[in-house]
Symmetry: C2
Subunit: 297 residues, 2 copies
């Protein structure tokens, strides 16, 4: 860990791999326009934070990098499907995402619903290539982690709490629980998917879980800060929405200054977990934690 | 295969196992009413044809029956989620299912969307218990089969064709392709999930695939026949809907008599595939084929 990591270069190389793999694996050939809607939802969009976390963690543990690339794309498909469904009229009713019309605006609600459903299935398809391409043990571990992070005790559960919370006064603990599930579970899962591409020590695995928890929470705190401090053009989505919908956020609960201090403390926690992991090179994971804290959108 | 199978008894015993496993695995505890909506969508409803196919196939190949029970429940969760989403206003806009208000009528559209999403994730969760409970190889095989059958090249793809077909004149080949994906893929998958609970010979596996294809198609042909010959009370859903929506069906394409003859031919194909499988006892699978053809709803 002596030399500094050239993170822009690391990031560009890995983003290139992810984009090209997504382009290859999310096929336009799916019937009756479904493939087109799926590709629209996934390609040319987003920071790819989750895939980068998977690949950085897979490299940190010396894991199988082909498995890492599949897991990176799988978690991004889960993220993408959740955005498609979340934007629908019966949920957030949002018309703008990453600066483009949302999937249901472009393809209709029914196709958006199906595209989201098919993206979730495709995530598990990517994790289960023929057994000759990836050991069964890794396939099973990756599916196990992703299913739990996506479902009722993860992302979908968090969204249900979010749904029930509009206009309600949530306490800090409830807010943390909601975000731990809604966005935290998938971010933590990204780190653990990377870790599952090898067989790290229990100590390393636990340290990576701590790291994942910390950046998962930090991500949401920063998101809430940006919702009140950034404009729609910078965000690529409608700013100020949470406040307008009277949704509870860290900022509405703690105020802006305490929210910023909390984000900084979570960054320190993430960095200290990496130091405790005993892994020889966690520079990319550290750089990703910095990116989570410093992102403008 | 000398003695006759007491199918009502076989069926009741296996249904009991499935109902009790679903009741145990689809937990009410999921946050903010999500668990309640998931359970409403899954419990006390349906013929459980897919789970019974999984278990009959698992027994026919002498497979791991704990894996069979998990796979049986997983495929039913995929089926259940597809009905929840299919009933939503932006799709079929149906208010009655199995004689009860549909999930979105009872819990609202947003919760129905999330419940469907969470049920799909839960299906993969059931297939990936701790490695000590089921061999990694079987876990990976089951996830591989289910992901493909549920996604763009299976059920979701078939629904996209269905969506695009309303009011269009489909040819017989296109209609068969739509149903091969929309309902056939999951029925065939049920049989193959059961087969994957052991390591049957290639010949047996191929014969079971032929059986699965035949009953998958037969199921849809019979469904189309029932849509015009049965009433809503018997069906537990709105009868005559396809005709009213000008959806192409086997009956609209071939007429009632030819549709009935086609269903009978598919039954013969299914039975001949079982005979060719070389498996010692396929009586439950044969009885299930009979059930598919003879069902009143």
């Amino acid at each position: 860990m002596s030399a500094d990591l050239d993170f822009p270069r690391w990031s560009a190389a890995h983003l290139g791999q992810v984009e090209s793999a997504l382009d290859r694996w999310v096929l336009a050939g799916a019937p009756a326009g479904l493939g087109e809607a799926m590709r629209y939802a996934v390609l040319d969009g987003g920071k790819r934070l989750r895939p980068l976390l998977v690949m950085a963690a897979a490299e940190a543990v010396g894991g199988d990098l082909q498995a890492g690339l599949r897991a990176a794309c799988a978690v991004e498909l889960i993220h993408a499907y959740s955005l498609v469904h979340d934007d629908m009229p019966c949920m957030d009713n949002d018309v703008l995402r990453r600066g483009k019309p949302t999937v249901h605006v472009r393809f209709g609600e029914a196709q958006a619903l199906l595209a989201g459903d098919a993206l979730q299935a495709l995530a598990f398809e990517l994790l289960t290539p023929p057994a000759t391409e990836m050991p069964d043990r890794i396939q099973a571990s990756l599916c196990r982690l992703l299913a739990r992070a996506a479902g009722h005790d993860g992302m979908a559960g968090g969204q249900a709490i979010d749904l029930a919370s509009v206009g309600h006064a949530l306490g800090e603990d409830e807010l943390r629980q909601m975000h731990r599930l809604k966005t935290g579970a998938l971010l933590r899962c990204s780190v653990m998917l990377g870790a599952a591409c090898a067989e790290p020590t229990d100590a390393a695995r636990q340290a990576l879980a701590r790291y994942g928890d910390a950046i998962g929470l930090a991500f949401q705190v920063v998101d809430d800060i940006l919702d009140v401090t950034a404009d729609s053009a910078t965000l690529g989505k409608t700013a100020g929405k949470d406040a307008a919908q009277d949704k509870p956020t860290y900022v509405s609960l703690m105020g802006l200054d305490r929210s910023r201090a909390y984000a900084a403390a979570l960054f320190d926690e993430a960095v200290s977990a990496l130091a405790a992991s005993g892994l020889p090179d966690t520079r990319a994971l550290r750089a990703l934690a910095t990116m989570v804290i410093q992102r403008a959108h």
